[in-house]
Symmetry: none
Subunit: 118 residues, 4 copies
């Protein structure tokens, strides 16, 4: 499966976000290993360094830890940690902007929530 890359964002960022989403959604469990750099690179037909860059970000953010010679493993508590971080970020950074936009566009809660069932 080769994902459709959004050409606006760097691939390594999209990879990073993909892994984050998968951990948040429970598809990758804590303590589990990430698929190896080479494997992902082959599967997605992307340069290994690009994968590395995404994986490096995950290490920098304390989501994943290296076991030398073995691979990268999701840290215990990572899911909770990320949920808190993302939630904080969403509520403080993104939501106020979204609300401003909603107001500016004169949209109603009713309209917006209607789409929720689709």
């Amino acid at each position: 499966m080769i994902p459709q890359w959004d050409s606006d964002k760097p691939i390594y960022l999209q990879l990073y976000q993909q892994v984050v989403a998968r951990i948040l959604d429970g598809y990758i469990l804590e303590g589990e290993a990430l698929p190896s750099v080479r494997k992902v690179a082959a599967e997605y037909q992307v340069n290994p360094i690009t994968i590395s860059k995404a994986y490096q970000m995950l290490q920098d953010e304390q989501i994943v830890e290296k076991q030398r010679g073995k691979g990268l493993f999701v840290k215990p508590g990572a899911q909770e940690l990320m949920l808190d971080r993302e939630r904080e970020n969403f509520l403080v950074q993104q939501w106020p902007e979204i609300l401003k936009q909603i107001t500016r566009l004169n949209l109603s809660a009713k309209q917006l929530l209607a789409g929720e069932h689709s």
Copy 2:
């Protein structure tokens, strides 16, 4: 006043969005002139070419029009046009993504829209 540029987005885009927001919010009225490239460049300490690029985008999107020798003027009907466009874009492109994120973070769109998140 020199705004704080978001170093993630190009300045010309931020300028463009700023003008759009001001028109939507009614701070700049239809038929009014935009401040001149030189003036904005001086005030914001930004390269005039960068301002031009933002203004060019506004022309491309049919929001403003050039009156030779006078400057750029907001077209009649611009506010309505933009409102429709932005609304369409928001509902189709952005809102579904936002909803997905809200779900992932285990938040309630209903409560957020009611202002109960704090």
Copy 3:
């Protein structure tokens, strides 16, 4: 001038440490630009990406900020910030280990600091 790289440490790390040292020692002042990636790459005969990596670290650590299209500039307050960080790190992480080593080797920290070891 081509520096002698320590083959034990990655070049990008040595570059990073070099810049940090230069800021701490006042050779690069706050508000000044770093020499461009290409320039350093040419001068040191190192791949531009390697320089980039070092510069990226400095951005991540809030020591330097990007001005798009212009280059990287030392943030105001960077010297003080780094001094605090490095001092903290030295006292808490490194010095206890050094003391342990000194004790193990049956040396006297007092005499070493007084310059009497030779």
Copy 4:
């Protein structure tokens, strides 16, 4: 007891340094045997090859010697030998760098020695 490995340094090096420290500190005496590769590997949950590598280093450095069929034994004079080597290395290689750092961070001997009592 499983030690906390420093993921920056290879495990075999950390093992080597641990043994060196134990000999220097007198926890392992000259003429005594090192614990077997298998035993350490099981206890620390580390690949036996990694232990072997550490033990090989100790042999290369003339600190221990193999007695066929019996195991590895700390050589007589090992403690003295290592003390001299490490002292030499510390004074010539490490201490000058440490002093440079102390100067750069503007730390005083008084501050540093105060922590010695902790």
